[in-house]
Symmetry: C2
Subunit: 581 residues, 2 copies
């Protein structure tokens, strides 16, 4: 016996179809829920819904298993049956995290959860604490980044389906690795989204880059919010996920007295209390608004952390001279901005942005910097380039090492992107497969058009629709032990080791971060109590004074020399020192 | 000499036309401001702007004087020239306020500021402390409520223009009356709004009941926010207005890190500091969100107060049995809801609303109740009825007295609507004159259609476009001394007198308000420390116990009897008691 339940306030009548049999559903309450108990159904049964007199049948918006693709039918998934081995697991605090972002489809040749499991010893040995996986909700097409998911409760079959994700999470926990999952609650993908036939999931009163906004504040929005909150809770309870990364929270439009984010953090906290496990929520936010991470008691939304794009942009524009002035990078491009990011988190904290053509942001003031995630590479920053080339490909190993060095000694929670640790040679390109020819052509052409504005020829831009783009983006794990890659990996490992053992580097107090720099020579010195990070991003060597009593802990190359009171830093170097007592 | 300045980022070139002469303007900065100094212009000069090669000319969006109507030309107004006599004026605290809302066009037969001045002695004698005037920004047509203003910096000429408003404010201050002004920052009226030709004042990314939303968060929104903030500051500085009532703040859509309301309260506070005068901001808010009045230090928007519609609805549905169940009143209609409003401000504080089809609001908790304005009549609650009939017209004098009694003894800041104090016989109808036939017909028909849903015949609904509707809505001051009206006026005066002299009634602490009630018999008792308010809204007399030691202070009729431990309350009565020491 299985009870089917569905929220469908937009239909007059609804049935569940199983094979050639049709079972009428009954209203469960006056808010649009329907139910049907079917004797012969159970885990493994394929089903779909028939709405009104529509001859077609449609997948369950909350289906947990979509082995037949996004157009359905759905399959009943037997929850609670997995043999977990992580009973004693609890995630380490986010403040101590080294996050590693990966995409299941390209992390390994197999492109599956089981494939990814094989690389966990490498990540654990590297010192990673949290793995962040890009979205795994079912989406149409043969490959994609995952941000166009439509069956948000179903784990992508091609990755290994629901049980595959459980095996992966269980294995991560066995290796001492926490798992964060990227979830998209600001839109549904354009293909295979049938939710609108069931209920008012979207509203045309607000427009987003993807079209209509999610209905978080109008009639029947309670159930829409329930849909997303229940989705969040499901990953944490049924799949043992330790936290979520919320995609682009700036595209939520919600004037409710209890903002959707506040509701979510409240419910997740309650779940953590019930499960006795640490659960965290991290936002991707373009708002530069500390309200996202202010505690709820301080009338914030209470997320644990948010990404800090300003730090990325400030550092990136100091690494990549050619990139200066393009798009949003035009708002950055000085050591002063980088210093501001390192000490004040948001460069745009209430000042005018030329790119946005308006004042942007608000100061974070005395908030712990552990509320902010810092990175120089992530899926967007690599993949949204015309050819998906990684930082090292165009700035060289020396500068890539400096960048990684600053990320891992920064006061932020560091995040690495798959392959960054060994300066992978493979690109990470934008791929998004669409079966419909019209759609596929439009995506390909749109991408080429977008980059032609920056001077790219159509043939230079990676075509998102071809399988080669996807395959090309897979990591080549065999190269990891070649000289260049091994050097980067060693640098990465030593940096992580240092960070983990350092009280100064894991201190989140913004008042304990002091930065000096020279705009012309492009050196920067960051003091974190007795630990000093010095970097030279200029094209010439520099000699810096004031190093009496300092000892060199770590250098990105062996040619950094500490002589008496001064240190000699060749171009494109980073070093970490400590002041001896 | 006069310098013309205008923000017009949407034009390639712009000139100012004075008579037959045209003066080219020069860019003032790179954010869309233009300027022209014209030797022969000065206060009194009529002018308009020529945009690009458009043969027409357009009024100044920030014009302070529009004596030729909304389509222009504008006239230069000589600021700072008025001979103020209110040098020693400062407004009393809002917590002590008795607010009186009035509409200049219908408050007196003249329908002008000067006409209104003649009634100030009456209001002062009544005990009113704050006069709130409905919008006076210039709008098209011969009469209207004022919410379709388009020249937001210009005082309506028909009311007396800029100098007329100054004479009025100065006279109010001379009578010891503070002045609040109703301002509309959520939309422009549909006729005569030329701002869109100058700059992106609106955005199509958000929709409101009036169409596109005001652009508070997208490109160039800084200057749009400046426009509204400067407008607010102008009223307070140039016109000596003591505070503003912000129309429908729930229609602002703003995800900026500094919300528009927070920016406004910050700037108004700074102005108050500079001028050495108390300035307040009051919101009309349908959000039921205490964030509106939380202090900025507590991460709220920091408004001083907001209207509390829930109290109105809860009380109204207990007065008007026929009204129950219609529209938003369906969410109210019990003594329990009224008791909740009196003790917890928001009835909808996180509970499900059948009318809204979603959960609504958030608890106010321990906030002072002086952050909330309470009323049983206002321009909307009277005027948005099909015939604009006032409460007393359909519930009778006895119940109108009970309602007024509860408003004036409630913990909220009480607000009265013009004529309420003497149970005026004139209605206050919806009137909105449009010169364009098409527009006028559409407004008339829309109004009739709207009310036909509630069973009204088209001929029963007051036609907003006819002058009779406007004239009919004017107060008849001659009736004030007739018996019924004089009785109400006396009741009102005594209640205000009692409130002003009572420590218990001016105590804003929600913990000091205790309410008991009987749902069936419809009596309610509100204890505010040693002061007790008892009311009987049932159709039969009730005898209430527990009055040992109490003394009757005030009764809505003389037939309320206190005998020993109990009090006899006929139907439709309110009385105030005090516990003797």
């Amino acid at each position: 016996m299985h009870e089917f339940r569905v929220w469908a306030p937009r239909v007059e009548k609804i049935s569940v179809r199983i094979g050639n049999e049709v079972f009428a559903m009954k209203p469960l309450n006056d808010r649009g829920w329907w139910s049907a108990q079917v004797e012969e159904a159970g885990p493994g049964t394929d089903y779909a819904f028939i709405l009104n007199n529509d001859p077609n049948s449609y997948p369950d918006p909350r289906a947990m298993w979509m082995p037949n693709g996004v157009h359905g039918p759905s399959r009943v998934y037997g929850t609670g049956a997995f043999a977990w081995t992580d009973q004693s697991w609890n995630a380490p605090p986010l403040a101590s995290a080294i996050i590693y972002e990966l995409h299941i489809g390209t992390f390994t040749t197999e492109g599956t959860f089981d494939g990814a499991i094989k690389q966990l010893p490498h990540l654990a040995a590297l010192g990673i604490t949290h793995i962040e996986i890009m979205p795994v909700a079912e989406f149409p097409g043969d490959f994609g980044w995952g941000y166009d998911g439509v069956a948000l409760f179903a784990v992508r079959e091609a990755y290994g389906g629901p049980d595959g994700l459980k095996r992966f999470v269980d294995a991560c926990h066995a290796h001492g690795l926490a798992v964060l999952l990227d979830v998209v609650y600001n839109h549904f993908g354009p293909v295979g989204n049938y939710t609108g036939m069931f209920g008012p999931y979207m509203t045309s009163n607000h427009r987003t880059p993807w079209g209509d906004a999610v209905n978080l504040e109008f009639e029947q929005s309670d159930e829409v919010r329930r849909f997303f909150c229940d989705n969040a809770l499901m990953w944490m309870e049924e799949y043992h996920i330790d936290g979520l990364r919320l995609d682009a929270v700036h595209e939520y439009v919600d004037r409710s007295a209890i903002h959707f984010m506040e509701q979510l953090t409240t419910e997740v906290e309650d779940l953590a209390a019930r499960l006795g496990r640490s659960l965290v929520l991290i936002a991707e936010s373009d708002l530069n608004d500390p309200r996202v991470v202010w505690q709820r008691e301080a009338h914030g939304y209470g997320l644990h952390a948010q990404w800090n794009d300003d730090f990325h942009h400030a550092l990136f524009t100091m690494l990549d001279a050619q990139g200066e002035g393009k798009g949003y990078y035009g708002d950055f491009g000085s050591m002063e901005r980088l210093a501001k990011a390192l000490t004040q988190v948001f460069v745009y904290d209430g000042i005018y942005s030329q790119y946005r053509k308006r004042i942007h942001g608000r100061p974070v003031d005395a908030l712990s910097m552990h509320h902010f995630v810092g990175f120089i590479q992530n899926h967007d920053q690599v993949g949204n380039r015309a050819t998906g080339d990684r930082l090292e490909h165009f700035v060289g190993l020396d500068r890539a090492k400096v960048a990684l060095g600053l990320v891992l000694t920064s006061p932020f929670i560091p995040l690495l992107f798959q392959g960054e640790e060994f300066a992978a040679s493979s690109p990470f390109q934008y791929f998004a497969h669409h079966e419909e020819e019209e759609m596929a052509r439009s995506v390909s052409e749109g991408r080429k058009r977008e980059f032609s504005a920056f001077g790219w020829l159509p043939e230079e831009v990676a075509d998102p629709e071809t399988r080669e783009t996807f395959e090309r983006s897979k990591l080549n794990w065999n190269e990891m032990h070649e000289e260049k890659h091994a050097a980067m990996l060693d640098w990465c490992r030593r940096l992580i080791e240092l960070r983990k053992s350092s009280g100064a580097l894991t201190d989140g107090n913004p008042r304990h971060v002091k930065v000096r720099f020279d705009e012309e020579k492009r050196w920067l010195v960051m003091d974190r109590e007795k630990t000093r990070v010095a970097l030279n991003l200029g094209d010439s060597p520099v000699d810096l004074d004031g190093y009496q009593g300092y000892r060199l802990l770590l250098g990105s190359e062996n040619d950094i020399r500490l002589v008496g009171e001064s240190v000699h830093m060749p171009a494109a170097r980073l070093a970490v020192f400590t002041l001896e007592d």
